[in-house]
Assembly symmetry: none
Homo-oligomer: 153 residues x 2
């Protein structure tokens, strides 16, 4: 529990779980978990992790992840086992083809794990329509989905 990667992982976790409003707060939370660092390091860590200070609905500042690909790094992920055949874009939309009958299951995984990058999905039998949130590029969507599902190019 002392190397950089562990610390980064812990920061992610803390930011997701706690309402962190400043780097000082985060620093205390980390200290509490056995990591001794300076605020300067946290500034750099947060930059690496693309965690930024945002505004929640109550108008208060709160640190949040901007890059959602972290989700796929979470220990176990069913979607990876499920596989998918292709992913293509048309205008703002993405269409994923899956093995016959698998669309529903994979769509459910996407809904659950793709986070705010995806507004929603609609699944047929072997086709999933994915509606990305505005502001997310094709590359970003592809990255998020491909992290989620192994077999994508």
């Amino acid at each position: 529990m002392k190397n950089k990667n562990d610390r980064l992982q812990t920061i992610r976790q803390v930011v997701i779980e706690c309402k962190i409003g400043s780097q000082e707060e985060l620093l205390k939370e980390l200290l509490h978990r056995g990591y001794t660092v300076t605020q300067a390091t946290l500034s750099r860590d947060l930059k690496r992790l693309k965690i930024t200070k945002t505004l929640d609905n109550t108008g208060e500042y709160r640190y949040r992840l901007t890059d959602l690909s972290f989700i796929s790094e979470k220990s176990e992920n069913n979607a990876k086992a499920l596989g998918a055949n292709s992913l293509e874009f048309s205008g703002p939309l993405a269409v994923m083809k899956t093995r016959s009958g698998y669309a529903g299951a994979i769509a459910a995984e996407i809904d659950q794990h793709a986070g705010e990058a995806v507004l929603g999905t609609i699944a047929g039998d072997d086709t999933i329509l994915i509606i990305p949130r505005e502001g997310f590029s094709r590359v970003e969507i592809t990255n998020i989905l491909s992290n989620l599902i192994e077999n994508l190019s």
Copy 2:
């Protein structure tokens, strides 16, 4: 071009169009467009607009809108009454999220009552894709749907 609302609107525009990396930069850009304000005011404006400093793909800081939907809180609340959780737009399309299993029922209501503003809907389990007719703005669609959902409950 001198009141607060105009300024806020302009700030939004500038942030979307230019790569703004600090409030000082934004200040200059606004000055350039005829608004004389101090950094303190900008800090407050950005808070109101929920525009925050984020990280772009190149790892540089950039101000961005946090709230990607322009949905009024009213319609969001109305939607919630029925079991719909949110309504957001992506390009010409609208996506409504509902409680699990409710999408079909709500989509049917929309088809039946939304009139000419909506070409059609496609429902998954908890997601409805709504295709507006060309020429209808997001605000119009939002109003129509929120009225509709209000009447349903």
